[in-house]
């Protein structure tokens, strides 16, 4: 085991695969992704197995996650957002459980990789832009013209609006990647002090790690929530323009 706090982010190939010159190897990251999909599916499908009128604990949790995301979509997008609910729900649960499973010792956090978060963010960005153009045609580009502004200011403001629009996938992906990386690195840094400080001094970094673990659960939920809410807000912008 390396004491390098960044070692935990290393991608290791488990089954090397190459398709048409592209490296499609099954890595530790892929294991975490497959595990996430499996756990979410089992949680929701088995949890609803009873389909009881009066839900038990497990079914309550499944229903709660459904209504949580459904309310989020309804509040931020309105009724037009209904058909995008499955994709937002999938995004939220995928990131949430990816973050949670990454907190297990010796596991891998695939959301701590910018390649993953940027792919997700670009998918959201491109999807939302295409929805906007499909709904409003060329009128969609009036989105970059702020209302109630003197015409003289427009040459300055329109480029700013375009830059802020284009920076959306960057901020969306960097936020998630940086939060997960920073949290896990910090835990590893403190963990590396526990054994060298021995029985007398080791308690202090250990206590910090206990606190950080709780904090990381909050961050894991919060980042999944922020990603999903921002996706809803971007979707709302595309559907309703301003």
């Amino acid at each position: 085991m390396s004491n390098n706090p960044l070692h935990q982010f290393t991608i290791t190939e488990i089954v090397p695969v190459e398709i048409a010159g592209i490296n499609a190897s099954f890595t530790n990251s892929a294991v975490a992704m497959v595990a996430t999909v499996a756990v979410v599916s089992i949680f929701l499908i088995m949890g609803m197995g009873g389909r009881s009128l009066v839900p038990g604990r497990w079914q309550s949790m499944a229903e709660l996650s459904y209504s949580f995301v459904a309310d989020m979509v309804r509040d931020n997008v309105g009724n037009e957002g209904r058909k995008y609910f499955p994709i937002i729900f999938s995004l939220f649960m995928f990131i949430l459980f990816g973050n949670f499973l990454g907190l297990l010792p010796y596991s891998f956090t695939f959301t701590s990789h910018v390649a993953v978060t940027f792919t997700l963010a670009m998918a959201v960005f491109i999807g939302v832009t295409l929805i906007g153009i499909a709904r409003h045609g060329l009128h969609f580009f009036t989105f970059f013209v702020p209302g109630g502004v003197p015409a003289v200011m427009l040459p300055l403001l329109v480029p700013i609006e375009i830059i802020s629009y284009l920076s959306r996938p960057v901020s969306l992906s960097i936020r998630l990647f940086a939060n997960m990386t920073a949290g896990h690195t910090m835990m590893k840094v403190f963990a590396a002090f526990i054994v060298p400080l021995g029985f007398l001094g080791g308690w202090a970094p250990f206590a910090v790690d206990v606190a950080l673990t709780g904090f990381e659960f909050l961050v894991a939920f919060l980042q999944a929530y922020v990603f999903a809410v921002l996706t809803c807000i971007y979707l709302n912008d595309s559907i309703h323009l301003h």
Binding site: F9, N23, T27, S29, V40, L44, R51, S52, M93, F110
Partner: protein, 162 residues
């Protein structure tokens, strides 16, 4: 920093696409419809029960109103009957009283007639007796025999003066 190792990007993105598409299809086709169905069923059941409760409440209110109206009807009917009985009794009593008064008046009249008769009789007796007493008194005092007619006239005169 392993995150910036470009050679790992391809396998990560490939498996992200595979797993996320799988996730999306499992959610959209299996997991979410199941939850939606259960939530819908629960909502319909709740709405149904609320409707039933409202209907039953309406029924109960109608029954209470019907009971109230029949109670009021029975009360007014009873009052009418009591009034009729009281009226009949009053009429009966008035009739009996009238009859009694008539009977008493009749008896009173008869009694008064008898009294008047007796009085007349007594007065006639007094005339006769006083005439005889006066004749006897005059004969005794003066020894003169007085004519009956004169005595009678004197008595009548005296009685008239009184």
């Amino acid at each position: 920093m392993p995150q910036l190792d470009v050679t790992t990007f391809a396998p990560q993105i490939v498996w992200l696409v595979i797993t996320f598409l799988a996730m999306y299809f499992i959610m959209a086709k299996v997991a979410l419809p199941r939850i939606a169905q259960v939530l819908d069923e629960r909502q319909t059941r709740i709405d149904d029960n609320l409707e039933k409760a409202a209907a039953l409440k309406k029924e109960a209110e109608e029954a209470a109103a019907a009971y109230e109206s029949s109670l009021a009807e029975a009360r007014s009917k009873a009052q009418d009957e009591v009034k009729a009985v009281i009226d009949a009794a009053n009429a009966e009593q008035a009739k009996k009283q009238d009859e009694l008064a008539a009977k008493l008046n009749k008896e009173l009249e008869a009694a008064e007639a008898r009294i008047a008769e007796a009085k007349d009789k007594a007065l006639a007796n007094i005339k006769e007796v006083s005439g005889e007493v006066a004749k006897a008194t005059v004969e005794k005092l003066s020894g003169v025999s007085v004519d009956d007619a004169a005595v009678e006239a004197a008595v009548a005169n005296a009685m008239e003066q009184n």
